[in-house]
């Protein structure tokens, strides 16, 4: 159980873990309002990366990570991550229905 101090390091390594084994990897988030603590975990049942915080700013960063993982998991590990908004690479866009809500 490794707690990672750097957010960016956590993000990068967790994406690597997911891409290495998309079927086994999962992303877990635990929030305790009474303690004001947020813990994130990414694991493939062999490697485990964790990140804990009590800072509101990290919640914002976590939202971005959530978006990344949603895209990776719903569409596939080969999706090109263009960081949050505009996560649609050109090849994917053709097959989807009109989804230009943000544009």
């Amino acid at each position: 159980m490794v707690y990672i101090d750097s957010w960016d390091d956590f993000v990068e390594r967790s994406i690597q873990v997911f891409r290495a084994d998309p079927h086994a990897a999962r992303y877990v988030m635990k929030y305790r309002h009474c303690d004001g603590k947020l813990v994130l975990k990414v694991t493939d049942n062999r490697v485990c990366l964790k990140f804990k915080t009590d800072q509101a700013q990290d919640a914002k960063k976590m939202e971005k990570l959530n978006n990344i993982f949603f895209a990776l998991m719903a569409r596939g590990p080969d999706v090109d991550i263009s960081e949050v908004t505009g996560k649609e690479p050109l090849e994917q866009q053709a097959s989807k229905k009109g989804r230009g809500r943000r544009q």
Partner: protein, 116 residues
Amino acid sequence: MVLLQPDPFLNELTNMYEQTKEKGSVWVTLKRSSMKCKAKRKKLENSGEIIDYRCLVRATNSKRTISTALSAKDYLRFQASYATILKAHMNALKKRERKDKKKNTEGDKKQADLKK
């Protein structure tokens, strides 16, 4: 484990966050899944590679577990609503009081400040 549609799931998730304000935790897990059992998956894999994967989202407050499966079409809308719910409920976290530089020095995310 209750499997719901995305919208009821979001409603239940909101309830969970509200119920655990004083005590308790909420876990949310995201995982890629085909929602099929291993035998079926093997069969599909052997015949042709058309396994449709979805994003499985589970939430629990250690009393009740709910889940939903998102396809590539639903996830954007879900993601937006989910972010709204989180923003609305995760307000027990500390606001940043000092500059960022201090945070970066020793991985200060854990707060040397304790309860202040």
